[in-house]
Symmetry: C2
Subunit: 320 residues, 2 copies
């Protein structure tokens, strides 16, 4: 990919992305993801253009059918004439760009649809992680006129709670099976779910998983007037129940608007983003210290028992 | 729990922990975990005493039998006369201290054994996360004379890679089932595993899971002379195969010693710890800024399109 260093080029790319040109969208995401020199310029150009897209996070354990569900949601949203962005975040992969994993093949149903942008995004090895990189990509999709952006985690680890932090609405997917309710409780996803979906509802045990989930959710504290997360059943492979999920997303959005919660969530999201960017900058400064304040030197002294980690951290902070 | 603020008290606690007194160990872990005022003092007192314990991380998806395997490993290590610490880290829970979850009941087999320390540790909501808090708890168990400390993740999310970062040896647990190899690859755990264990080996498919895993691992790049991760079969509920896991841990330790890799891993671990503590301090300073540099004010300006997140982050960094 060629570098974009001219102000005119960034402005032109943004204009073309706003007009819905897929290549301009892809190019801008690459620029923000690669932390190119024009990243700041891109961010400054996009910031005033965003806010229109509703961001839906999709999370769940491996094997519950996240990719299939995401694809089915795209189909349902497209049928309603909505423009859809898909950001498939893989916190464990160093690869970005195209669809790499076997189970993402289903998304290729949408590859030729001009109303759908699909993007895989790696976050491993990216300074600041998801909190620093994903919001930039979301801004590109938002500015490109997406009505809904689906953020899906690929793989496990490091991600559920972070994805919820990025989203206006968080969908938690489960599949029928013993102990799902307990596993969900352990994973801490009960608090982050705005909508729960028991996928693979054609399998035995879907109703009992729903019941179990309902009783676990009933035990979590919620304020008066708070949103009551619905528990829906889907079979993503056939599309059964997916329209109801789209409907629930829409109802949750209305709740967010009416309660002022949308503003609060978005403010919290930007707070985290700014903080992550600032900490990333500080971390970069740590990495460039020299002499006795070098991290390697400090770590060696701690291992030797000459100093303790807190004193070493103080040295680091005071030096920058 | 009463506060410990006197230097003599900390010194006394450390002395009693070194003598193997369980209550002193528990008290010290609470002190470091609660970030009590004496945290720094405790850390300074412990740092010269540590290095003797071999830290084994145990990771794997929910349902593979992590708790049962940890308990079986404790039994096997105790049979060899080793003192064992268990740190069960739950990145999603705000609760610490006792054993809370149903499946931890098995650990109660060891509750009356004076050669075993068991501790649950939450990391949610703790500034700096696992990287900042777990090393302090590991130091307590190390100083208390544990020969081996098992660090087990409870629940999913946020943790696999972090646990590997804390450990000298990382055990990756799997269970027989379709697609395990692919799921493992997606989870990025292939690179972090020093020893792979297919648990529930009495179930159908254990051998094929091992074969699949072996072929996936064969494809990962490893340097000449590098450790070749064994793939072992266990049935943790009966203890079958667990002695072989203990043996493999011991062989891996020899490899770490001989190759100089132990020193490298521990240096990297302390580096991350110092960095995490320093970033936590910086983050705390961010939270205490006032006026136009307040995070809320900056986030509001970004949402209003008046500034972009990078410029806001610059403001934050320059102000501290």
């Amino acid at each position: 990919m060629s570098a974009v260093s001219r102000a005119t080029s960034v402005a032109e790319l943004v204009e073309r992305a706003q007009a819905g040109e897929p290549r301009a969208v892809a190019r801008l995401i690459s620029l923000v993801e690669d932390r190119s020199p024009s990243l700041r310029e891109v961010s400054a150009a996009l910031t005033p253009l965003v806010g229109g897209a509703h961001v839906v996070g999709i999370t769940g354990s491996p094997g519950v059918g996240k990719s299939t569900s995401t694809s089915a949601l795209v189909t349902a949203l497209r049928a309603k004439g909505q423009r859809v962005g898909v950001l498939a975040v893989d916190p464990t992969s160093p690869f970005s760009g195209g669809a790499l994993l076997g189970d993402r093949v289903r998304m290729q149903d949408h590859a030729l649809d001009e109303g759908v942008y699909i993007r895989s995004m790696a976050s491993r090895g990216h300074l600041g992680g998801l909190s620093a990189t994903a919001p930039q990509a979301l801004r590109v999709l938002d500015a490109a006129g997406c009505d809904v952006v689906l953020v899906e985690t690929v793989g496990v680890g490091q991600s559920e709670v972070e994805i919820a932090g990025l989203a206006d609405t968080t969908l938690v997917l489960l599949a029928p099976g013993m102990g799902d309710g307990i596993q969900a409780a352990k994973a801490g996803i009960l608090e982050i779910g705005d909508i729960f979906v028991v996928n693979k509802a054609d399998r035995e045990g879907a109703q009992s998983t729903r019941r179990e989930l309902r009783s676990v959710i009933a035990m979590t504290d919620r304020a008066d007037g708070a949103w009551k997360p619905p528990i829906l059943l889907t079979t993503a492979t056939t599309g059964d129940g997916v329209d109801e999920v789209v409907e629930a997303i829409s109802e949750h959005r209305s709740h967010l608007d009416d309660s002022g919660e949308l503003e609060r969530r978005r403010l919290a999201r930007v707070r985290r983003e700014i903080e992550a960017l600032a900490l990333t900058e500080v971390q970069a400064r740590f990495a460039h210290l020299s002499g006795d304040a070098r991290l390697d030197v400090l770590a060696g002294r701690v291992l030797a028992g000459e100093t303790d980690p807190f004193a070493a951290a103080d040295t680091l902070v005071e030096t920058i």
